[in-house]
């Protein structure tokens, strides 16, 4: 079935179907997707990841809700729960100046909140999966912060899945100087395909923290895209913890549009079995005087395959920027594989940029040192792996989230 045919059939059932601007957005997105279809490995950005496994699952939308919902990760969080892509549990009372609601709710009841912004960041020909998401999405979360609002409690969004295909579409709009912490938690059982997009627009001086905890089911495929625009002095601290899924692609497209903006994009991937996880990051220093930092580390066992590809683009007028990119991978098995491709494209002449990638086994000398102090080999290995991951986890500024991530990493190492 073609997307166009499917979409025409579905059109009347999608939320906000009566809104002309939304219908136009969906039609344009469908056309963008149709122009390329699912990218194959001849496309440079998809050279290391094949989407064949999801080909037949794209239109299996419409799985039912899941009643058994786990408790929140964080105490005192504002939480939304989506099951198979549809809002299931609503948020509790929110402070003045904060709106947190389902995308379908926003389309039906508050379209003005999103009309100017939806689909404006994750756009362009390079983004066929976000286009597919835009055409088919039925729900997701919308977080809108008025200027100057500081949300003390973390916002937790659970995406719980067990079958079919789902296309959560999320939108975070932070007014000038607003601050909030969002945890996106992806969890599931069984076989399913999830294609999620989060768009972030951070106005001048806004500080956002977005933590993604990806614990999809073993049999699941997950494609997640974060697309953000940061105005002057806006800061985004993003952390991707990738633990689950069989086929995972985690994309980030970050545009630094003002001086003083900072994007800190870190992540950990821990894979075993035949898991495949591709982290693909594009950072665009569009103007001068801003900074970006990337530190991605992974541990691969068995026949796991990870990809790290990231490109920092520094445009001609973007003088005085800093862009750093680091990728380190530990290989615990001969058959595990990492393809690491850090890239810099620098058109300005006064910049500080660095990139580096390493891959290797656990340090034999370190292991011997620990064992010579009486620490049994298994414990010594775990200590070194924990230390390796900790160097990136240390960059998580939220203590409660750090504690959760530490726990999940420790569980992975112990299992």
């Amino acid at each position: 079935m073609s997307l166009r045919a499917y979409q025409e059939e579905m059109a009347g059932e999608l939320p906000g179907a009566g809104l002309p601007w939304l219908a136009a957005l969906r039609t344009a997105a469908a056309a963008r997707f149709e122009a390329t279809g699912l990218p194959d490995r001849k496309v440079e950005a998809w050279r290391y990841t094949s989407l064949k496994p999801i080909q037949d699952h794209l239109f299996t939308i419409g799985a039912g809700k899941i009643d058994d919902v786990p408790p929140p990760l964080l105490a005192n969080s504002h939480r939304l729960v989506f099951t198979n892509g549809i809002l299931h549990l609503d948020a509790t009372e929110l402070p003045q100046g904060v709106r947190l609601l389902g995308m379908a709710q926003a389309m039906a009841g508050a379209p003005d909140l999103i009309a100017e912004s939806l689909g404006q960041v994750a756009t362009g020909q390079k983004l066929p999966l976000p286009a597919l998401n835009q055409a088919l999405s039925q729900d997701g979360y919308v977080l809108a912060l008025d200027a100057g609002i500081v949300v003390e409690q973390p916002i937790e969004i659970l995406f719980l899945s067990d079958q079919g295909a789902s296309y959560p579409r999320n939108l975070v709009l932070a007014g000038a100087g607003a601050r909030a912490t969002v945890v996106e938690h992806y969890l599931g059982t069984g076989n399913y395909f999830l294609n999620a997009v989060t768009e972030i627009q951070a106005a001048a001086g806004a500080h956002l923290r977005r933590y993604k905890i990806q614990q999809e089911a073993n049999g699941a495929s997950h494609v997640g895209t974060l697309a953000g625009q940061l105005d002057g002095d806006a800061k985004l601290e993003n952390f991707d913890l990738n633990l689950g899924g069989q086929l995972v692609r985690s994309e980030i497209h970050m545009a630094l549009q003002g001086a003083g903006a900072d994007a800190t994009l870190n992540g950990i991937y821990l894979l075993r079995g035949k898991q495949h996880c591709d982290n693909a990051i594009w950072v665009d220093h569009a103007v001068g005087g801003n900074t970006s930092h990337q530190d991605y580390r992974g541990i691969l066992d068995n026949k796991a395959h990870a990809v790290f590809q990231g490109k920092i683009t520094v445009r001609r007028d973007a003088q005085g920027i800093e862009g750093h990119q680091l990728n380190k991978t530990l290989l615990l098995s001969d058959q595990a594989e990492i393809d690491s491709k850090p890239e810099l494209e620098i058109l300005a002449d006064d910049v500080k940029c660095s990139h580096g990638a390493t891959a290797g086994e656990l340090d034999e000398t370190g292991l011997f040192y620990l064992r010579s102090r009486g620490i049994p080999e298994a414990e010594a290995r775990q200590l070194l792996m924990t230390a390796f991951a900790a160097q990136t986890l240390d960059k998580i500024s939220d203590k409660a989230v750090r504690g959760i991530m530490d726990g999940l990493v420790a569980d992975w190492m112990a299992s």
Binding site: L370, R371, G374
Partner: protein, 254 residues
């Protein structure tokens, strides 16, 4: 006095190259022996063979420790049985805090010895008994193991580990390397404080200088993978005077 370590006809190779070519060495309980030798004579190889490092393969001969075949034990079991190696180049472990490392090691050894693990308070109390005399400050304990430590700090940290693990047999591999005289004195004082009737040591060094501070009961000269000569502490002085030349040539001729 019974011997804690008995090495007989020991041959060992690394990557197929024979480094140790027939070593005989007996070390009595409570004794301090020094092994001196030029670079490449096999000093470090001997220390790694005793501690069980992978890639150091015994091809002939035997090592018995406290009357049992040492080669049957893994690296960590040897440590638990009281063997300690002070590294020539202590390893940096970024991300592993020194305190966590020390506590994990102490408790791993206690567990293997069938003793109760120390809780945080008990451990800190034990740690404090040694940190002042070894001039180890809180900042060093908070940092990653050996990360950003000076040469002297690294060696003091080795002695701290030795003090906490309370070994019966310690091999100190070129503990003096990279130290100025003040740092050397602190380290030597730390080692001397740990001497006792139930603790034996094998002090490996290139220079006689260290043996002015850690005075050995016996001195052995290692050359070309064999012990070329053994004697009392005065042998170190003779070496200092004549150099290794005579011994090295002698070893080749033998």
């Amino acid at each position: 006095m019974s011997n804690i370590l008995e090495i007989k006809g020991l041959h060992a190779e690394v990557d197929g190259t024979e480094i140790l070519k027939g070593i005989d060495l007996s070390i009595g309980t409570g004794e301090v022996h020094a092994i001196m030798g030029p670079n490449g004579s096999g000093k470090s190889t001997l220390s790694y063979v005793i501690s069980g490092r992978d890639g150091y393969d015994i091809t002939a001969g035997s090592i018995s420790y406290q009357g049992r075949d040492l080669t049957e034990l893994t690296i960590e079991e040897r440590a638990a049985q009281g063997i300690f190696l002070g590294f020539q180049y202590p390893v940096e472990l970024p991300g592993v805090s020194s305190t966590t490392f020390l506590k994990t090691a102490v408790n791993a050894v206690r567990r293997q010895r069938g003793e109760d693990e120390l809780d945080a308070v008990q451990f800190m109390k034990r740690l404090r008994q040694h940190t002042a005399s070894l001039n180890i400050n809180d900042d060093m304990l908070r940092r990653g193991v050996n990360v950003g430590f000076s040469g002297g700090e690294k060696k003091r940290n080795e002695i701290l580990q030795m003090a906490l693990l309370e070994p019966y047999f310690a091999v100190l591999d070129e503990t003096d390397s990279g130290l100025d005289i003040d740092a050397l004195k602190v380290v030597a004082d730390g080692v001397n404080a740990l001497r006792g009737p139930t603790r034996s040591m094998l002090v490996i060094t290139h220079y006689q200088r260290l043996l002015d501070y850690i005075v050995p009961d016996y001195v052995h000269v290692l050359a070309h993978g064999r012990i070329a000569r053994s004697g009392g502490k005065e042998l170190a002085l003779e070496l200092e005077e004549k150099g290794y030349g005579a011994f090295v040539d002698g070893a080749e001729a033998a």
